[in-house]
């Protein structure tokens, strides 16, 4: 626990759409069990890829508009951004290896 990866609407542009590093955004909500169980996994990915990629969490309860903008229907949804554009996504809970495989593909 500990790292604060939370991001809201105000900082989304600066941190995600203007980022030079690849970014993963995890759309989640506090009552969504699969999202919560993914939390520690997301934090691990953030730690493992520090300096190479950025990882953020957007709480859809407070940021419904952002979720709508990116067409999030089901949470958890992970959206991968490269050069500010969404390039890949994962819908539903998955093991860490699935997340990092897609990230590695973006980094290579």
């Amino acid at each position: 626990m500990g790292q604060n990866l939370e991001l809201n609407h105000d900082h989304f542009q600066k941190e995600v759409t203007e980022s030079t590093l690849p970014v993963i955004v995890d759309f989640w909500a506090s009552w969504c069990g699969p999202c919560r169980m993914m939390g520690p996994v997301i934090e691990e990915v953030a730690r493992d890829y520090a300096g190479k990629a950025k990882v953020f969490k957007v709480n859809t309860e407070n940021n419904a508009q952002l979720a709508g903008e990116y067409g999030v229907i089901s949470i958890p949804t992970l959206i991968y951004f490269k050069n500010g554009k969404p390039v890949d996504q994962i819908i539903g809970a998955v093991p860490k290896s699935v997340i990092t495989k897609k990230l590695d593909a973006l980094l290579s």
Binding site: I73, P95, K96, S97
Partner: protein, 307 residues
């Protein structure tokens, strides 16, 4: 190098985590393989009202987070990996995953079950895009929508009641002439104006273009077909056991559940089963937790009988 453990648990739902608590607290070197993330079916549901000890109910996510913390506190090692191969013929049980090989003195299978599918046109196409089996995942983004829920059992009605916080209307479709849900749940649903009921109806297809527009159902008595307008479809029509990977390794019932004795031994000596994955009458968190306890004790006795 293969990893040697005393007990290897497959599945990180309530049954597997409870077995993990007991086995690791008994100082057995214990590993748990979970193919997605720990939590199981419980994590998907919002409020659990019938698990003792939580007088005001507890969120499924909170309960599972706590079980996970409790299990890892005693040293349970959790590995998010896919089982790719089994060799259970010898005294030492071999389990291969996409990342490692494990050699275990005893194995506890607690892989639970997954939601059954309708198998109608449109279901696959709209999976993750409007067809769902998880209310807490897809409810909040269904604000002010008309939705169809398929299944009038306790799960279907309970999850529908949670959905009423977000959606505009729920058309509940049930194959049988009456709902099977617990009475307390049925009463709540009938009192809620957001519900309408289509009993004795079967789903024929889920229709739409870039998103879902309607669900076609048929009245099983009259044969009359109707299109129910809906943007989301939630399916709770029962479960199928996660035992596909066990075929030929351990004795299963015709429906695919693992057959056990009272001590939760399976047909393979040294392999135990716990929770929803085994053939039994009542599948609840409390019974899964009870199973996890018994399976861990049985595994402990089994290991002690050698050394």
């Amino acid at each position: 190098m293969a990893k040697e453990v005393d007990v290897l648990i497959l599945g990180g739902g309530p049954a597997g985590l409870t077995a993990g608590i007991y086995a690791s607290r008994a100082r057995l070197n214990t590993g748990l393989i979970e193919n997605v993330v720990p939590g199981g079916q419980v994590a998907k549901t919002e409020l659990i009202e019938n698990y003792p000890g939580f007088d005001e109910g507890i969120l499924g996510a909170d309960l599972m987070e706590r079980m996970l913390k409790q299990a890892t506190r005693f040293g349970l090692q959790i590995h998010s990996e896919q089982v790719t191969g089994l060799d259970w013929k010898g005294a030492v049980k071999k389990i291969e995953t996409d990342q490692d090989t494990y050699l275990a003195k005893a194995v506890i299978v607690a892989t639970g079950s997954d939601s059954k599918q309708l198998n109608v046109p449109g279901e696959k196409e709209f999976k993750g895009n409007g067809v769902s089996t998880c209310a807490t995942c897809d409810g909040p983004t269904s604000a002010n929508m008309d939705v169809v829920v398929v299944g009038g059992g306790s799960s279907g009605v309970q999850e529908s009641l949670f959905l009423t916080r977000f959606v505009r209307s729920i058309k509940l479709v049930e194959f049988m002439d009456r709902m099977n849900a617990e009475k307390i749940l049925q009463d709540k649903a009938r009192a809620n104006p957001k519900f309408s009921f289509f009993l004795g109806h079967e789903v024929l297809s889920i229709n739409g273009d870039s998103k879902i527009r309607s669900v076609t159902v048929r009245d099983r008595k009259t044969g009359e077909k109707k299109d129910l307008g809906a943007e989301r479809v939630f399916v709770w029509i029962g479960m199928v056991p996660n035992t596909g990977f066990l075929k030929g390794h351990v004795r299963l019932s015709p429906a695919g559940y693992i057959i056990t004795d009272e001590d939760l031994r399976t047909s393979v000596s040294g392999v135990f089963a716990a929770g929803d994955v085994r053939e039994k009458g009542i599948r609840q968190i409390s019974t899964a937790v009870g199973d996890g306890t018994i399976a861990a004790q049985s595994a402990l006795h089994y290991i002690e009988s050698f050394s």
